[in-house]
């Protein structure tokens, strides 16, 4: 009999030295330094009003990113058709609103359209189609449908309308879209953590074969997750339409917010939040924080007086940075391929 060999539990510093290479630590440290210097020197950055602005800016992209996180976590990469789904939805919503149907009916109508488009993409992905190519095709299709339906014109509906509370109303000093963002973030995180469905998402994403062996096929999961992502995109479209009381298919295309098109911004958010793009690792909470983080950096750069070029560049750098750190940290682990 020999005494059991025990080692002292490594503290955080030892763990960091053991788990992460010097390169990764240096990258993260350099980034943090730049971030904090920028934060400290930006004028009017640390005010309550600015904080609210940051979260409000993050809300629309954040809601879409939360929807997309389900797809990513289930191992189906990402959907390239998000902004086109939103474009079709915004046209559907505005058409219905301007025809005089109330908010509730228009809302349901839009959601049904988004569900159909999301589920049909999900079916194709679930049958084994490559998610990127399927949604690239779907993007062209949905955008074309939206343009055809609206005749490529701006559809507007007159104030006061039933959707004003969502677009411009506020609750306890926070805009309602921000409130919706927070509520959706909480609900999504609860779903992922505490429901059977949430655990299935992780299982299928982490190990497709194990999921199949235990009776959780990707077919159903792809349909469900794509439906969630599409519904979130449609919700964003409705909220945006409610805000500006009009709709056009190009609202989500170029120059939405600060940085290029919406789909890539949403994917950036999911990646920068630190979700594994191969699936199985991450959470919607990370995506929400990713949205807030990107919005913070953007806000900081605006306060420093940067144009759109450097800001887009910063977002691109953040994505590439997170990919590299992620790949280097996870090197050799199973979730890589």
């Amino acid at each position: 009999m020999s005494a059991p060999i025990t080692q002292p539990t490594p503290n955080w510093l030892e763990r960091m030295v053991r788990d992460y290479s010097a390169f990764v630590v240096a990258l993260v440290a350099a980034f943090m330094v730049i971030f904090f210097i920028g934060m400290a020197t930006a004028p009017n950055f640390l005010t309550l009003f600015n904080l609210k602005t940051i979260i409000r800016d993050a809300a629309l992209v954040g809601i879409m990113a939360i929807g997309l996180t389900f797809v990513t976590l289930s191992g189906n990469f990402f959907l390239l058709s998000l902004k086109e789904t939103a474009a079709l939805s915004i046209v559907a919503f505005a058409t219905s609103m301007s025809a005089g149907y109330g908010f509730e009916i228009s809302f349901l109508f839009t959601m049904v359209i988004a569900l159909i488009s999301g589920m049909s993409q999900g079916v194709l992905i679930g049958l084994g189609g490559n998610p990127i190519v399927v949604t690239l095709g779907a993007a062209g299709l949905l955008f074309g449908l939206g343009s055809y339906w609206s005749d490529n014109l701006v559809i507007s509906f007159r104030r006061p309308h039933g959707a004003e509370w969502l677009g411009t109303g506020s609750f306890l000093g926070l805009p309602n879209i921000t409130v919706a963002f927070i509520l959706i973030a909480i609900a999504a995180e609860m779903t992922l953590r505490y429901t059977t469905f949430g655990r299935q998402v992780y299982l299928i994403g982490a190990n497709r074969a194990a999921g199949k062996a235990t009776g959780h096929e990707n077919f159903g999961m792809a349909i469900k997750t794509c439906a969630i992502a599409s519904v979130c995109a449609a919700f964003v479209a409705i909220a945006f339409s409610a805000q500006v009381s009009s709709a056009h298919v190009n609202y989500f295309s170029s120059e939405f917010g600060s940085s290029g098109d919406m789909t890539i911004m949403v994917i950036a958010t999911v990646m920068v939040g630190g979700n594994s793009i191969m699936g199985g690792y991450g959470s919607t909470l990370r995506s929400s924080f990713g949205a807030v983080f990107i919005s913070t950096v953007d806000n900081m750069m605006v306060l420093h007086g940067f144009n759109s070029g450097p800001r887009v560049l910063a977002v691109g750098l953040m994505i590439v940075f997170s990919i590299m750190v992620f790949a280097l940290v996870r090197r050799g682990s199973r979730s890589q391929e």
């Binding site: 190519v133 095709g137 993007a139 074309g144 890539i264 793009i277 070029g309 800001r311 590439v320």
Partner: protein
Amino acid sequence: MDKIKNWVVENHDLAFAILLAICVYGYFALTNEYFATHRTGFAIMERFAVLGLVGLALTLCIIAGEIDLSIGSNAALAAVVVVRFTDSLGAFPALFIAVSISTLIGAIQGYFIAYLRVRAIVLTVGTLMLLRGVALFAAEEKTVMLTDFRVPDFISTKMLWYFSPASLLVIAMFVVVGLFMSYTRYGREIYAIGGARKEAVAAGIDLKRPMIIVFAISGLCAGLGGCIIGLRSGTAQALGLQYVLLAGTVAAFIGGVSILGGKGGVIGAAIGTLTVNFLNTGLVFNVTPAFMVQLYLGVLLMIVIMFQTGSRIFDDYQRRQQILFDVDARKAPLLARKAESLKRQ
């Protein structure tokens, strides 16, 4: 006749692509009297100069089992660079600089994909944004313009009824890349890492080399395409050219690549692109708005994907049936022997 039949059976993807191209061309030629003229042919070849390059680049990427999402941003960056430098340096140095930058970007992407062992879509969606930022930076957030319009005039000079310097250059590019893919070791390595990556790596192929080559060619094509479009129109926008990804992917898939990689070729890419261009040009003749072209392209891509997925599912089913059949065939004599021995007892 037998030879043709054998060829069709062997290359059914290519045969299908040719058939589709003839059908699309025939439809527009019959419904529109101006479609089958050499003027329209020239217009189609002019479009081919840009889309063909993108289709070629995406075909190579998909053969290698990856997809390059950043191709539109790379092309836009090249367009901005070439238009900005043409006035001060002259067209050829500017072209050289822009194409080298794009090729270098592609090679770096390929290196990192192999080094980090990530899927290309993951990295290229990041570089899509990054390069767009660089392009915005290079263009100073404006639309850049040429002042000297002799270069655009030269690029679209008509030669031999159908061709211009740009489209001749692209055709030469196709020939070179086609020979490279078919007859060199490096080209065959690209097929190998696409069709069976684990086996290829096990057989001693270093993943880095083919990856760098594929993405360098992809960057070269994107850069050249961007330069042609930039110099021809004399203007360039940093946020433009994003539509080429969809059109190029459709062209590649019509040309017979499989998303699983390792299949397809340069001839397929050329025919696929021509089909897309026939469709594009024909729709323009029939006064169709631009968004409808996107709609048709989307539908086309969805149909091709459905075909591929369906045929894969059917193949799997057949294979499973075959295995079951084989197992039964092997089981039958054993069972008979056992029954006999039982009877003897």
